[in-house]
Symmetry: C2
Subunit: 232 residues, 2 copies
DNA sequence: TATCAAATTTGATTTTTAACAACGTAACTA
DNA sequence: TAGTTACGTTGTTAAAAATCAAATTTGATA
């Protein structure tokens, strides 16, 4: 998919206006509007490449992206999923020169990139902005760590149930949704093997807990799924 | 252990001076010195209780502390270990009203507590301080997530080897050290069961990879341990 | 449309880990 | 000091997950 300039001329209308950027002055907002670059990427496209040097902040406006890293042995791990209005790649942005994770769109996505120095200038000059940034940073990191610990607490069936509930409740807010990631990616996200993920999904289908049609998943038995998520 | 007032009258001499607080003006530093409370705790003592309301920032000066959470089913997980000059409990501090983790000393420790509002005021008024705080925050979160992912990549033997190397290289910088946590706590840290941790340690001892005397561990075969850490 | 590569699926088997049980030991306490 | 409790240890068994193998489906491409 080709990248194009954002149609909205000002960042004032952006979803971030209401969160991070709400504290900016008109002048700062204008500077941001002029400086930022807007990008559209299709599913599967790489937004940020692991190991590349950090040159800006990335704000996901629309879509979904995975935070992934490839280990020396070639195995890929997915640390988490970034949702709209998330700062992505935020984790190491202030403490590393290079991105430690790739950010890859798992749905058609739109994001804005803002120059690193501009954000740092805002941090230095606008206290309220710093505060918002710290809050955002905090909630993103906290959620990431919390989710990993939640997953570690469970075994295969519980983890798969957790992820289905996660997409249904947190991401799509609907009991029917298009699973944006492959079985292999689910496995990489919950630290299990593809075969076991597939087997578990088939099991859930056999037990009439979920319905699978292509990439669409429908939760049929919310109660049972929740039970497995909590005790399975 | 009874808590006492810090002997050093000013925060200027503190280890944090060189990191987070280096950007403070003399006046701000004085305010900090007056406001902060200094505490000493013995091994095992609770610095922060999970679920209690957040009322301040905690800076670990001396010692070691574990970041632990107890799950509804009573199982404890250790998210990570805080080392001197770490901000602890930082993770959710800007995004939650209550601590999501208990912070418990695993060695005799000293820490300072600074009022939440004072730090927030500094964030709002001192841009350089905000920047330092973001950097610290970033590196702490990044390390925490990175370590969890590293652990997930390994199985039992690799995880135990990882933890031994972690204490030897990162914490004590010595091939001989006093293990500050119990077998059960190692298990909670690497998401395995006590029995398996014990068995693995015994195995390492039998294979002359480590020597165990009471709580003291000595790495005998650095190479073999590293190999297990990477491939075991 | 034919072909190829990747993803999905199921089965069989092995390896890894958890669970259970039992016992020694060290630390704490009445 | 005796008793209690948590910790550490080892063995045995059961459960869970990884691995290996093979077939099928799907999707992209020539």
């Amino acid at each position: 998919m080709t990248e194009s300039i954002c149609s909205s001329s000002s960042c004032a209308q952006c979803g971030f206006r209401s969160s991070i950027f709400s504290s900016l002055t008109d002048e700062q907002l204008k500077e941001l509007t002029v400086q930022k670059s807007f990008h559209k990427v299709g599913k599967g496209e790489v937004i940020v490449e692991q190991g590349s040097s950090i040159n800006g902040f990335i704000f996901l406006r629309v879509g979904l992206a995975k935070l992934a890293r490839i280990n020396p042995d070639g195995r890929e791990q997915i640390a988490g999923i970034a949702t709209p209005n998330d700062f992505v790649g935020l984790l190491s942005i202030f403490s590393s020169k290079t991105y430690k994770y790739s950010i890859i769109a798992i749905e058609d996505s739109e994001y804005c990139q803002v120059d690193y120095q501009l954000v740092m200038d805002l941090v230095e000059t606008n206290g309220k902005f710093s505060k918002s940034l710290l809050e955002k940073f905090s909630s993103v990191s906290d959620l990431l760590v919390g989710t990993r610990l939640e997953l570690e607490l469970r075994q295969l069936r519980g983890r798969v149930a957790f992820i289905i509930c996660y997409f249904a409740n947190e991401i799509y807010k609907d009991k029917t949704f298009n699973l944006p990631i492959s079985r292999k990616e689910i496995a990489e996200l919950i630290d299990m093997r593809v075969e076991n993920v597939v087997r578990t999904l088939s099991e859930f289908r056999r037990d009439k807990i979920i319905k699978i049609e292509g990439t669409t998943i429908e939760i049929l038995d919310q109660e049972k799924l929740k039970w497995i998520k909590m005790h399975g």
